[in-house]
C-alpha cells in the first residue's frame, strides 16, 4: 500500500523515465539490437513499472500518472512479448529471388484453386460465345473488343501511323495502376470468405475464354497469340497470384480443420499476403511496359513470331522463377531468428 503518493512518484520516476528512453530508442531505431545486459535491464524496468501501475491503479488523484504508466507498460509489453521476427533491413534481391517464390510455393494449392476457377470461367466464356455469338457485348463489355476480329486485324496491319504515339508512357502507367488496383481488390475480396475473389477470377476467366474463342473462330489465332502473349503471360499469372492471396485470406478466415483462433490464423498469413501482393505489383509493372510498348504493335512492324517467342521466353522464365528460385531452406514468414526475452503470450480480456 502506498502511504505517501508524492514520495512514491518521486522515487519511481527515474525508473519510468529510463524505461521510456529505452522504448523511444527501440521505436526510433528498428535495427537496434540490445545486448544481453540491456535486455535484462529492460525487462527489470518493465516489471517494476508494471508493478507500479498495479499499485497506483486505484489512486483517484493520479489519473494522469496512471495513464502514463499504462502507456509505458503497453509499449513495453509490445516490445517484450513480441516473438515475430523484426525486419531490420530490406534486402530487395533476397526478397525477389527467395522470399517471394518461396511464399508462392508455400501456398501453391491456393494458386491451383485460383487457376482452376479462372479456367472454369474461361471454359464458360468460350462455350457461351460459341453457343451465342450475340452475347459478345455481355461477355466482353469493352468497346475495342466488340469489333469483328478479322476486321480489326486488317486495320491494325494496314496502319501506317503509330496510334499510341505520344501517349505510350501514360498508357503504360494507366495499365499498371489499373491492373494493380484490380489485383488488390481481388485480394481484399478474400474477406468475403472468398466469394468475391472467386467471382473476380471467374469473371476474368470468362473474358479470356470469350476473347480466345472469338479470335480463333475468326481464324486469327496467330494475331491473338502475338497480341496477348507478350504481356498476358505475366499479367494473367499476376492476377492469378492476387486470387491466390485472396483465397489464402479466405481460408484463414474459414479455418477448416485448424484448432487455432481466427486472430492467430490471420496473423500467420498476414506477411505472406503482403509478400504476394508486392510481387503481383512488380509483375504488373513489367506487364504494363510490355503491353504499351510491344503488345500493341503487330506485323509488319514486329513479326508475330517474334512476339510469340518473346512471350514464350517470358513464360518459361516466370515458371522457372516461381518453381525453382530460392528452393533452398524455406525460413517461413514469422519464424524468430533469435530467442526472445520471454515467450509467454497474453490475450485480451473479453469485453464485458
Amino acid at each position: 500500500m502506498i502511504i505517501d503518493l508524492q514520495r512514491f512518484v518521486a522515487a519511481e520516476r527515474p525508473c519510468w523515465a529510463e524505461l521510456e528512453r529505452a522504448l523511444d530508442k527501440l521505436e526510433a531505431e528498428p535495427s537496434y539490437r540490445m545486448s544481453l545486459d540491456e535486455v535484462q535491464r529492460f525487462h527489470r524496468l518493465y516489471e517494476r513499472t508494471a508493478a507500479d501501475l498495479a499499485r497506483i491503479i486505484t489512486f483517484s488523484s493520479e489519473p494522469e500518472t496512471r495513464r502514463y504508466l499504462e502507456n509505458l507498460v503497453a509499449r513495453g509489453y509490445g516490445e517484450l512479448h513480441e516473438t515475430r521476427q523484426r525486419r531490420r533491413r530490406i534486402f530487395p534481391l533476397k526478397w525477389f529471388f527467395q522470399t517471394l517464390p518461396q511464399t508462392f510455393r508455400r501456398h501453391v494449392r491456393a494458386f491451383w484453386m485460383s487457376l482452376a476457377i479462372t479456367l472454369a470461367g474461361a471454359a464458360f466464356g468460350g462455350f457461351a460465345l460459341a453457343l451465342d455469338p450475340g452475347a459478345k457485348p455481355a461477355l466482353m463489355p469493352f468497346s475495342h473488343l466488340l469489333q469483328d476480329p478479322a476486321k480489326r486485324v486488317a486495320e491494325e496491319e494496314k496502319a501506317t501511323q503509330d496510334r499510341l504515339a505520344g501517349q505510350k508512357t501514360s498508357f503504360s502507367a494507366f495499365l499498371m495502376t489499373h491492373n494493380i488496383k484490380v489485383s488488390i481488390f481481388t485480394l481484399a475480396l478474400g474477406m468475403t470468405w472468398g466469394f468475391g475473389t472467386i467471382i473476380m477470377l471467374f469473371y476474368n476467366g470468362i473474358m479470356i475464354g470469350a476473347i480466345a474463342v472469338d479470335y480463333v473462330r475468326a481464324g486469327q489465332a496467330k494475331f491473338l497469340l502475338g497480341w496477348l502473349l507478350p504481356h498476358g503471360v505475366v499479367e494473367i499469372p499476376a492476377i492469378l497470384i492476387a486470387g491466390q492471396a485472396g483465397l489464402i485470406l479466405a481460408l484463414a478466415l474459414i479455418g477448416w480443420g485448424k484448432r487455432i483462433s481466427l486472430k492467430t490464423r490471420l496473423r500467420e498469413v498476414s506477411q505472406d499476403l503482403v509478400t504476394l501482393i508486392f510481387g503481383v505489383g512488380l509483375l504488373l509493372v513489367w506487364a504494363g511496359f510490355v503491353e504499351a510498348f510491344l503488345s500493341q504493335y503487330h506485323e509488319p512492324v514486329i513479326p508475330y513470331s517474334t512476339k510469340i517467342a518473346f512471350g514464350l521466353v517470358e513464360l518459361t522464365l516466370l515458371v522457372v522463377y516461381l518453381a525453382k528460385s530460392g528452393s533452398g531452406r524455406d525460413t517461413g514468414p514469422d519464424k524468430p531468428d533469435e530467442p526472445s526475452p520471454t515467450l509467454s503470450s497474453a490475450s485480451p480480456i473479453p469485453h464485458s
Partner: protein
C-alpha cells in the same frame, strides 16, 4: 452494452486498457486524411506542370503513378513512420495498434490499408462502418485481417477545483493518516463522479441536491471513518468538498512531480 475499451492482461497479471475509437471519430480522421491527400495531389500536379510542357506523355504518366502511390501509400507510409498515426489520426488523438498489444508490424499496416478497397464499398466506408459498429473491438474488415485496433488517447482535463475549494478550511486534513487511507481507498470513478456532482451542484433541484450529497457523503464515510470532531457541524456538501480536496489537492501542490503524459 459494448464497452469502449479493450483490456489486456499481461502474463505478470497487470491489466492495461486501450480506449477504442468509434466509427464517427475514425470517419472524421479519414476525412482529414482525404483532404491532406487532395492537397498533396494538387502539389504534385503543380510540380509536374513544368514536366508536362517538356513531355506531356511522361508528365501524365508520372501524375497517374503519383496519384496511385499517394492514394494507396499515404496511410501505409504515415502509419509506419508515425507508429500507427496519420495526420487525421494525430489530430483526433487516434492510433493504430496491434490487437493484442504487441508491436505493430509493417505487414499489418499494409494489410489494413489494402483492405480499404473493400471497407470503402460502396461509398464513404459504408461496409467498414457497419462492420466496425457490429464488431466488439470496433474493427473494420482491414483491422480484422491485419489484427489491429484503433485506440484513442483522450487528453486528461483537470477539473476546476479552485471554484469549489478556494479559501475553505478542511477539517479532515488534521488527520493525515486517515487522509492517506482515503486516497488509497477511493476509486478514480468515485472521485470523478463526486467532482462532477459538485461542479454541477447549481443545476440540481434543492431537495435532489441535498439527497444526492447525503448519499455520496454516506458512501465515503463507509470507506474511511474520521473522528466526530472532524465531521460534526459540517454539511454533507462541505464534507464532500473536503474529500475532493484531499483526493486532488495533493497532486496539485506537488506540481513539480507531475509526469508528462504521452
Amino acid at each position: 452494452m459494448k464497452t469502449a475499451a479493450l483490456q489486456i492482461r499481461t502474463p505478470e497479471g497487470i491489466v492495461f486498457s486501450q480506449l477504442l475509437a468509434g466509427p464517427v471519430t475514425r470517419f472524421l480522421a479519414w476525412f482529414i486524411d482525404v483532404l491532406c491527400i487532395s492537397v498533396l495531389l494538387r502539389l504534385l500536379g503543380q510540380l509536374l506542370l513544368v514536366l508536362q510542357i517538356v513531355s506531356p506523355d511522361f508528365g501524365m504518366a508520372l501524375y497517374s503513378l503519383g496519384y496511385f502511390l499517394l492514394s494507396i501509400g499515404y496511410g501505409i507510409a504515415f502509419e509506419w513512420s508515425w507508429r500507427g498515426q496519420t495526420i487525421g489520426k494525430k489530430l483526433f488523438r487516434l492510433r493504430v495498434v496491434d490487437a493484442e498489444g504487441l508491436r505493430l508490424q509493417f505487414n499489418q499496416i499494409v494489410t489494413r490499408n489494402l483492405l480499404r478497397f473493400v471497407d470503402s464499398l460502396p461509398a464513404f466506408y459504408l461496409v467498414g462502418g457497419i462492420v466496425s459498429l457490429l464488431n466488439p473491438a470496433c474493427q473494420r474488415l482491414g483491422d480484422i485481417a491485419g489484427n489491429t485496433i484503433v485506440i484513442r488517447n483522450p487528453r486528461v482535463v483537470e477539473p476546476d477545483l479552485d471554484q469549489l475549494l478556494a479559501g475553505k478550511y478542511n477539517s479532515l486534513r488534521q488527520y493525515p493518516h486517515l487522509a492517506a487511507r482515503l486516497r488509497q481507498q477511493v476509486l478514480p470513478s468515485e472521485a470523478a463522479l463526486t467532482v462532477q456532482a459538485l461542479l454541477r451542484r447549481d443545476e440540481f433541484e434543492p431537495v435532489a441536491r441535498i439527497d444526492l450529497f447525503a448519499e455520496l457523503a454516506g458512501h465515503f464515510r463507509t470507506r474511511v471513518e474520521f473522528p466526530p470532531e472532524a465531521t460534526d457541524g459540517i454539511t454533507d456538501e462541505q464534507y464532500l468538498r473536503n474529500v475532493v480536496d484531499i483526493l486532488y489537492r495533493g497532486r496539485i501542490d506537488a506540481g513539480s512531480q507531475k509526469v508528462a503524459v504521452r
